[in-house]
Symmetry: C2
Subunit: 603 residues, 2 copies
């Protein structure tokens, strides 16, 4: 197995690029424009995360896949490494890091947590989700739970002793959450008896922890139908009784799903209240469950995007390593008896590697961009502009790496030829691990509807205007550099095309109604996403080109910065043009998908 | 598990469409233009194949994946069903069908064999390859082997008792076959001692047969370097001695590959002549091995394309079945408390299903088109036009379903949501099974180089001219129908764009040389393939629209024909426009992939 799963140099470059942009925007006085103030401390945290990932997560990447969790006697057993990992993550403060000092945390900015997630997930995606889920659940409790609930649940969760989960999906309520039927019957104060069934719960139960805390959506008896009658509950596997002892809470594991990939993490189904003895504790107010959940949804979606990005990154590094060492064939200009060359020298192989880099590094850049806006919003919650931008770009940050990542890991596999199809190399696992991301936390179809149906139109299209301003600023800067002028010009044209396409769709909405307007939302998401990633690449090329203009760049760094500009050029030559075809299809007034009668699928 | 894995109605419609076209072209007098003469007999053969596939192949589709072959004590054990299947295929004449009567065959036309392969592979791809490999190996022996070799090997192979294989790849010679090093040392007459190592041999050894016959490429001692020094040998696992007894032939199994998918078939590595006792028998003349192999290569590549097509088809039918029964969400125009609807009613789900149908049925149509040209060539070998067309379209028939099939099975999986990611449903297996096809029998990259580097330019571009004539004929016919006029017009424009792009590349070749000309060969293959499949869809829409013009069409048939036209419309709206973007990238004079220095991949 190759040992490289990500590039710290690239991560630091990308994070720094976004930080410098931010500080410039905020006109923060910088002593050295290349080194924002927090640079050193940040670097140390990232290095420590990398160290941990390399020592504890990556070595069991394949092992966890080959020995997936087992369910027997109603108990789920996971790889023994998980207990150790959660213990370290708890003890060393990784789980509590973003929480306030009161909870043992350090108020770590969200963007830095994204970087850490990236490192962990590229080392071992399955191993990285356990603590990520606990953090998400604990955040919900901190944001909306009572002090009592916080005191009972947070300490053990942040210590890595208790697992947190999100229990949303039911057999008949997946994408359509409003149809969920799990019921909560009031008993006293905020305590309810819970009855129902949940499925697809990541880390829904396992023996790496002492307790499992489900953050669960359910309907209080008599609540209105649909999404307005949903409340949020804490439903623990073991509940603390009056004496503080943990007693069984009547949560039964009904099944464990055997999956294509992402096999190191157990996905469980549970039944609640079989013996009429399952207690749930209301978080926040009645009927506000979905609202609370949506508060966290953006974060969860960025995390999924980062998971996809990390897997694509790890697969790319495996492929790069192989293409540098595997010899096969010759250059067209070589003599026939010349020795075989490393396949990285074949143009089509370079094309495949460039695609993988373009996708993984471009997506990383976008998610860190979003993370830095999250940072700012925490400090200045009244920055409505950033709130709108985040809302607009979250469906893209979630779906672009998830979709392009399928193709990217597929090309990583292709770089290995027949070997890539075999279990001896890690890429077939990356290919399998990747495929979940277009599904969980809202399918790509749902993201498309969210973008075109909600985000583009919200506040009279204000978010679109803000995004255009941001992109225009980058274009303006890039126009100063002769090397980037062409790309700047292409990006401006693509933005104009996007605006035109959006207006075309507006006409279709007016003439034919909403179903026709939304028919191609997934294609619109793809077009929009491609342009946003092009923008990120231009910003990286800009940063790299500024570095190159300075004199004291080391040879190795020169190659790195030069490489960044080359990958940007690749993206603008091979990916951005796809927006033209998409705009043609999106602009068609007759929607072939809408027109197809279901009955005609007969055959 | 759903029980539908393909549509006999669709297969018969497609095959008939191509047959009618052929008979019209040949101006054969037809009593009924809808029912070519051989229709009835053909239908019976297809029905029998379907029956066998349903009874013997499909029931063990998942079982063979979950219980893959095992290697122990140097022996490979496969699912017990394989022995039974090969026995029936041998006894009932399926393996010998395309061979002459002398060998117990029926001279079955290649196109019909493609149909049978399609049925078998959609039922259970892994189970279908065993006999397919034997047929391929036996064809080589029949075409180029001596009568003695034919008499020794063919009877048991065609009876399904002996497995045939193609043993080409070596650890250091995959895509670069000219670098193979397996050696043959002359002993007597046509007998040689063989020394070397081969890997990635499909069905390279197993206990479902009594013997394994490797058709192997090796280099006779002292032969010239490169591809010109390669000869073809029969290397059996057990060789018949002078008394006709089978004796061990010193072929050792070194490994069995554990694969992402396609798990029901063992892929083996073998070592030859470890004990200095491995005999090989020269097939045909010395040093002509690669030439012989290439004679069979087109057939093998069409078979891979058909395998991919069949898998995409089976996945589509599983998805269609699910989308019709799974209820989730509501129409945008429904009331909020309306009952949930089958997800096939959601436009984005229809889009995913349409893509799957467009790819699988379009690819099927193209391969049957190629098959019918093969039929004609067998009868009239001087039809140089068909030979050129086959050469031109084979890389497309191989790679289009292999590449589009990855996305197609991915969308089949997506139609199932979270369930699709679980082993309870067949689609995750289809997704895994599919991924081999872009690799084996020449990677997609190799197909691109073949198309642009060899096929487009051969005989001064004669094949391109012939193809254009064929497409123009379809466009002309379609122009007679008001419903198809728009598509005819779009296809004509796409062909013009392809010609322009090809000329642009010619200029690039003249100005910058061959490496720049071939840099984007894979993209050219994609563009070319999309146009060829559009052509096939127009021909199907034309046939369907002619059926609809007749009065006595049953309601169910009306929906089927109407569906065909709708899927064609979808392809022209959503897929054909992609050629525009591809032409932009292909036309760029600066090739970003060629320009990228390997050193810049540093990070």
């Amino acid at each position: 197995m190759n040992n490289r799963f990500m590039s710290m140099k690239d991560l630091k470059f990308t994070y720094q690029t976004k930080m410098v942009d931010l500080e410039k925007e905020n006109s923060t006085a910088l002593s050295d424009p290349d080194h924002p103030s927090s640079d050193k401390a940040t670097g140390m945290v990232l290095d420590a995360a990398f160290d941990f990932a390399k020592k504890e997560l990556h070595p069991i990447f394949e092992e966890m896949d080959r020995n997936p969790p087992t369910l027997s006697d109603g108990k789920i057993k996971v790889h023994p490494g998980i207990r150790k990992i959660l213990k370290i993550l708890g003890n060393d403060g990784w789980i509590s890091a973003i929480f306030p000092e009161k909870w043992g945390g350090e108020n770590m900015p969200p963007s830095l947590l994204h970087c850490i997630n990236f490192i962990f997930a590229s080392a071992n995606y399955s191993a990285s989700v356990y603590s990520g889920l606990t953090i998400g659940a604990a955040r919900l409790i901190l944001s909306f739970g009572s002090k009592t609930l916080q005191n009972i649940y947070l300490p053990s969760m942040l210590a890595g002793k208790w697992q947190g989960t999100m229990a949303l999906t039911e057999p008949e309520a997946g994408s359509s959450l409003g149809d969920l039927t799990t019921q909560a019957v009031p008993v006293s104060d905020n305590a309810y008896k819970i009855f129902g069934e949940k499925i697809f719960i990541s880390a829904g139960d396992h023996d790496g922890v002492e307790n499992v805390i489900h953050l669960m959506l359910a309907r209080i008896k008599g609540a209105p139908a649909g999404i307005k009658g949903i409340s949020l509950f804490i439903v623990p596997k073991f509940r603390p009784d009056a004496q503080g002892n943990l007693v069984d809470n009547d949560v039964t594991i009904t099944q464990m799903f055997h999956k294509l990939g992402y096999r190191g993490a157990p996905i469980a189904g549970i039944r609640l209240g079989e013996k009429d003895n399952c207690m749930g504790y209301l978080v926040g107010q009645e009927h506000k469950g979905l609202f609370y959940m949506f508060q966290m949804m953006n974060g969860a979606r960025l995390e999924v995007g980062m998971g996809a990005t990390a897997i694509a990154t790890a697969a790319y590094h495996a492929a790069l390593d192989h293409c540098r060492t595997r010899k096969q064939g010759r250059k067209m200009t070589d003599k026939k008896d010349a020795p075989q060359i490393p396949i990285i020298q074949h143009t089509d192989v370079k094309r495949m590697l460039l695609f993988q880099r373009a996708v993984s590094e471009g997506a990383l850049c976008l998610i860190l961009q979003c993370g830095i806006w999250e940072d700012t919003l925490l400090q200045t919650p009244d920055r409505k502009d950033l709130h709108l931008l985040l809302e607009l770009l979250t469906p893209i940050a979630k779906s672009y790496p998830s979709e392009a990542g399928i193709h990217s890991t597929s090309l990583s596999l292709q770089c290995f030829g027949g070997y890539g199809y075999c279990e001896d190399y890690p890429v077939e696992q990356h290919f399998r691990d990747m495929r979940i991301h277009a599904i969980h936390e809202g399918t790509t179809g749902i993201q498309g509807l969210d973008l075109l149906g909600r985000k583009v139109t919200m506040e009279n299209g204000q978010a679109m205007i803000l995004l255009k301003q941001k992109i225009s600023k980058t274009i303006e800067d890039a126009n100063q550099s002769p090397r980037l002028e062409g790309m700047a010009c292409d990006l401006a044209a693509a933005v104009t095309l996007l605006e035109k396409t959006t207006m075309d769709l507006g006409v279709i909405a007016a003439e034919q109604g909403v179903p026709a307007y939304l028919a191609d939302a997934t294609l619109y998401l793809e077009m929009f996403g491609t342009i946003v990633i092009a923008w990120q690449w231009l910003s990286m090329a800009l940063a790299a080109s500024k570095k190159l203009e300075r004199e004291a760049v080391k040879k190795k760094d020169t190659l790195f910065y030069e490489g960044k500009i080359q990958v940007a050029t690749y993206f603008f030559s091979y990916e951005l043009p796809k927006t033209k075809s998409l705009s043609i299809t999106l602009g068609r007034k007759l929607k072939a998908t809408l027109a197809m009668p279901e009955s005609c699928f007969t055959n």
